[in-house]
Symmetry: none
Subunit: 195 residues, 4 copies
């Protein structure tokens, strides 16, 4: 009955996304998620072993999707700078289109013990490395200054985008439009590191 399994699993993840975003991880009760998903409390433990697991699964599934998508999209461009511009736009667009998810990643995820302590955040490292690879490519092509350290630069660029999205998530409104913010931030970065 594989089909049915996936169906329940999906419904629980969807319900948890809603409930975590609304109440926060610690305040969200398993029974809230169960009610929202239309299943019994105990059913959740057939698909997830702990409360933390729901949060982590939710994060991993979404991150896999995001990673795949971002990889595909940036590879459509050949110019490293064009890749950077596209990355900025897609990242901020993603936040805009997935407010609940964004709030969970920005705020709630950090409240899970298991996530913060036991979980080596590989997916996030891969996401950062997408930027690192673009920068390295730029350096190889002589487009980016030799003294730029990719390990710092990728974090600086990601941090700039992330702070923008944190602002949007917490202020519950978008002061600047996605395109403007993406263009500004990628322009600082590109001008900042180009040869």
């Amino acid at each position: 009955m594989r089909h049915k399994d996936n169906e329940k699993h999906r419904k629980i993840i969807a319900a948890a996304t809603k409930v975590f975003a609304k109440k926060g991880f610690y305040k969200a009760k398993i029974s809230d998620i169960a009610r929202e998903a239309g299943v019994a409390d105990g059913t959740i433990y057939i698909y997830f072993s702990h409360k933390d697991d729901i949060l982590i699964s939710l994060f991993e599934e979404k991150m896999k999707e995001v990673l795949d998508n971002m990889e595909r999209q940036t590879s459509l461009e050949t110019d490293p700078f064009a890749k950077i511009v596209r990355f900025a736009f897609l990242h901020l667009k993603l936040i805009e289109d997935n407010k609940d998810m964004a709030e969970i990643i920005q705020v709630e995820l950090r409240q899970s013990d298991k996530f913060m302590k036991d979980y080596h955040n590989e997916k996030f490292a891969q996401y950062l490395d997408l930027i690192g690879d673009i920068i390295q490519e730029g350096k190889d092509k002589g487009l980016i200054r030799e003294d730029i350290i990719p390990g710092i630069a990728k974090r600086a660029f990601f941090g700039a985008l992330d702070e923008m999205s944190r602002f949007w998530v917490l202020s519950k409104r978008r002061t600047y439009d996605v395109e403007t913010a993406a263009r500004q931030i990628s322009s600082y970065f590109i001008n900042g590191i180009k040869t």
Copy 2:
């Protein structure tokens, strides 16, 4: 008995800083903090009305200190770009010198309901505005491009620094030294926005 009051208050804040950083806000028990501070559980409630209050007090006191210090230090420079370099260095140095505090601000603070919901984070806005004011000054002096939007740029710069410090806090090691990171990040930013 004013002296004694401040003494206890200080000891509790210091103990809480340690315990929150080690265990996280939700997992930290009042009795842990009391033991660490060398007082009885009940004594904590003479100085703070709730568990949340300890966290918020801790944040406000530190932020006031940081703000005052950062304001004083940046005003020693006259060139806006020199101010930016100094800001980056001081910010990262501060994180390095206050690991516990940094971890609390990065991670734990967001777990306090009262903090996230009822508290308008004025101190943080003022901190960001220190950067915003430098950028505006640079634009006024013709050193920074006219099209740069300070509301986005200040967040991009802060975010770049913050992501670097988050990396340090979470990885529990400093891969790059403070001076290198500060120089890199401020160079991206300055080159990125200068005329």
Copy 3:
């Protein structure tokens, strides 16, 4: 699983009756009641929302039973004076047969905030009105003096019986037998108000 529900509910009420009578409302711990009922502490909160709710439920259930019984029994007599004699006897007999319950109603019930403040004691008013109605009936039939005020008389009669039972409850012994006390008290009252 309706049967099981009622079973647990009943067991908790029975345990609470015992514990409240022995220790008093404030001193009775939820865990005492749980142990006595043979359930976990948390189980109590499946059936009752607060500690006060146990006390109030306990009171209401017993009062309903008492009221129904008293109404049925007094209606078996046609003579108002015979009704009064029977009321006195049944009231004191009830106390004798339900020492724990009587002590709770006499003493503990008043320690519940919710009971004293938010709860309009309708059941007790109905109980008093059983006496009031008998007196009115007696007046209508010309058996009781015209100047008798039912609102005072019903309280005087109930108070006389209640003081007797308070004495029994607090002294932990019955100095006079139920029948003697009932006959004495109803005789004072009947002779006192008859035409």
Copy 4:
């Protein structure tokens, strides 16, 4: 410094009367009483050894006064029935004039462990015996029926008055005036027991 002692003692008793009546014994905090009395918390423990002691002292002092007064007043009458009428009136008048005190005696006193368990309520027994003595006197004079049992009759009469005052205390209003209630209740009783 005897005079000063009595002064503080008196102030604390007065404050406690107010606070117990308003909040109830369990909810009244020592610090509430201290504030109301204008002394420090610790000062209360110079004059009383426990919280219960305040309640018990308060009760004893008032009862002594009441007993003395009631004894003096009833001895002014020679006719036992006139004594009964006067007793009823004085008792209800006392309640009316000392609402706070009455509420404490009716309700709060029973919340003190020490009072209910360790304290043999001698003063109250003496108060009841005032009625018992009057009834015995009436029997000796041939005014009251031989079959009347004073131990039951005194409680019936006191209970009638007490229920009336409980009604007044709890309903926070006086539905009938003191004189009417006293006349009614003593008339039931006198007619009920006279030869």
